[in-house]
């Protein structure tokens, strides 16, 4: 059985105004893979994600999720399989309380109340937001909103998790918590982001989109090692790979070194080899 494979074949999407957002995109994602889709603003990342849950209809090409080819008939089944977390949690949390929001999907699946309650509790537990269950979403902080948004999707027990820019707007601690959460999810994950450091941490495979075409598809480290490719696609290495500023005095920005030598408590982060990094 093709166990939750995601297969996109010659996918093309033309918006009604004539913008061709995707041009013959093809790839195949296996069960359990964690894949990043990266690219410049307007490269077509969000458009691609919206095809995976059948919100947009392909102008040409096919999409297969597990055993089903995406079509009118299989739409409901596919939406049950693919859970999508959108960029702005305010778009996703539309019910009066966190509980109602997380219960929205299971209730639409027609489950009975006891099952729904259990699913909601499980999902909230997993994202560490159980105590928020009776709060209205507009009183949550940005990081809390994001975690609840993930829970609204987890409660539907998706086999494939699709996330559009999950770390946008989060502070470092909230971002770290979200990453830990996503790392624990053992099904397929497909993520878009401009946060390439997150990609580096979370995804072993990366697909690079540029103006609607797939420019590269391979192991994340390989892609981030290819400077020419990154430059052509308006991308950069993740900062973690750009080297730290202390050890590369040749960098062009005018960062004055601190007057007295700094030693961080763990003595790391400020290594003193001095080869040159470009960026």
């Amino acid at each position: 059985m093709s166990h939750h494979i995601v297969e996109v074949n010659q996918l093309r999407h033309v918006y009604p105004d004539g913008t061709m957002a995707l041009r013959d995109v093809s790839f195949r994602i296996h069960h359990g893979e964690s894949v990043a889709i990266i690219g410049a603003n307007g490269a077509g990342k969000s458009t691609l994600l919206l095809h995976l849950n059948g919100y947009l209809t392909a102008t040409a090409g096919t999409i297969r999720i597990g055993d089903h080819q995406l079509s009118r008939e299989t739409l409901a089944e596919i939406r049950r399989t693919v859970g999508t977390v959108f960029q702005d949690p305010d778009d996703q949390l539309f019910m009066p309380t966190v509980f109602d929001d997380v219960a929205f999907g299971p209730l639409n699946q027609g489950l009975d109340v006891a099952t729904v309650e259990r699913r909601v509790a499980d999902a909230l537990e997993r994202v560490g937001a159980l105590e928020l269950r009776n709060k209205p979403p507009y009183h949550l902080s940005g990081g809390e909103k994001k975690r609840v948004a993930v829970a609204t999707v987890l409660s539907m027990l998706p086999e494939i998790l699709v996330l559009d820019e999950p770390t946008a707007g989060l502070d470092p601690r909230a971002r770290r918590q979200l990453l830990a959460l996503l790392r624990d999810f053992h099904h397929t994950r497909i993520v878009t982001s401009h946060d390439l450091d997150m990609v580096l941490e979370l995804c072993e495979r990366t697909i690079v989109l540029h103006e609607g075409t797939v420019m590269a598809d391979g192991p994340t480290l390989e892609i981030f090692g290819n400077d020419a490719l990154l430059a052509a696609c308006h991308l950069e290495k993740p900062f973690a790979m750009q080297g730290c500023p202390v050890c590369s005095p040749g960098r062009q920005h005018p960062l004055p070194l601190p007057q007295r030598p700094l030693v961080a408590p763990h003595g790391d982060g400020l290594h003193d080899h001095d080869h040159h990094h470009d960026h």
């Binding site: 939406r79 049950r80 305010d90 949390l93 539309f94 309380t97 929205f104 507009y138 009183h139």
Partner: protein, 268 residues
């Protein structure tokens, strides 16, 4: 009427009050909604010159305020802010109605003054009842109650969405207004030539947001029907609340308590 920028904060605060725990918070919302409606009907059914008999009705908001552990000063301020239209109209009464209805020592009191004061008291009572109702119930619960009392589902869902996105969009509107104001260099206001694109732009963003919300709903299996959890049961406590207050209101409507009390106190 809507100076929403300042009011929005208030709005959030009022909403937070509904998350408190108290005996009146726990009552089924239907009992509270119905009781409040009876209250308002009784209050507005008095004669236009009636003043004293209205006063005992203050008991209802005051008791709920106390039982619900609500901040009295805040509620009072909110109630005071909402008076304008009724009071402005009421202020015309003394101009047109100069019939002497009452004498306090040497003072002749016109019917217009009585009815004007009566309007003020009515406005205070009805506004206080509405605001206290929201503070001890919360908006979503009120919607649910009304739905269970027969309000159409489509409308209930519409109310919930509206309520949810007020916070998001008012923030957005506030930011737009602020960004404009900071570059306006003290020039007051903007003309229609600027207003159209500004508000139009906000409208387009709103529309796009609605599209994204719809997308998010579909992605979670939405098929035309919004399901909500129904909690709460109309039990004995609810029955007692409704009946108790209801009969008190009717009694207060029929018998002028302050009058009787006054007669007792003044030996009149």
């Amino acid at each position: 009427m809507l100076a929403i920028d300042g009011n929005l904060l208030d709005f959030k605060r009022l909403d937070l009050l509904a998350l408190k725990e108290s005996p009146v918070h726990r009552l089924d919302p239907r009992a509270k909604v119905l009781t409040t409606l009876v209250f308002i009907l009784c209050v507005v059914s008095f004669d236009r010159y009636e003043l004293a008999a209205l006063l005992p009705f203050a008991l209802y908001p005051v008791v709920l305020l106390a039982l619900g552990d609500l901040p009295a000063g805040y509620i009072a301020r909110k109630v005071a802010v909402v008076l304008p239209f009724a009071v402005m109209v009421g202020l015309f009464n003394p101009l047109f109605d100069r019939q002497v209805l009452l004498q306090l020592g040497p003072l002749d009191i016109w019917g217009g003054w009585l009815s004007c004061l009566s309007i003020v008291v009515r406005a205070l009572l009805t506004a206080a009842a509405a605001i206290v109702l929201v503070a001890i119930t919360g908006f979503p619960a009120i919607c649910e109650a009304l739905e269970r009392l027969g309000m159409p589902r489509v409308f209930a869902v519409q109310l919930l969405f509206l309520y949810r996105y007020i916070f998001v969009l008012a923030d957005e509107g506030g930011r737009v207004a602020r960004a404009r104001q900071l570059r306006a260099c003290g020039t007051k206001g903007l003309g229609l030539r600027h207003f159209g694109p500004l508000v139009g732009h906000l409208l387009l963003r709103t529309w796009e947001r609605a599209e994204r919300v719809h997308m998010a709903m579909l992605a979670r299996g939405f098929a035309g029907e919004v399901h909500t959890r129904r909690q709460g049961r109309f039990g004995a406590a609810e029955g007692a609340f409704l009946l108790g207050w209801g009969s008190l209101f009717v009694a207060l409507r029929l018998y002028n308590l302050p009058h009787l009390l006054g007669q007792l106190l003044t030996g009149n």
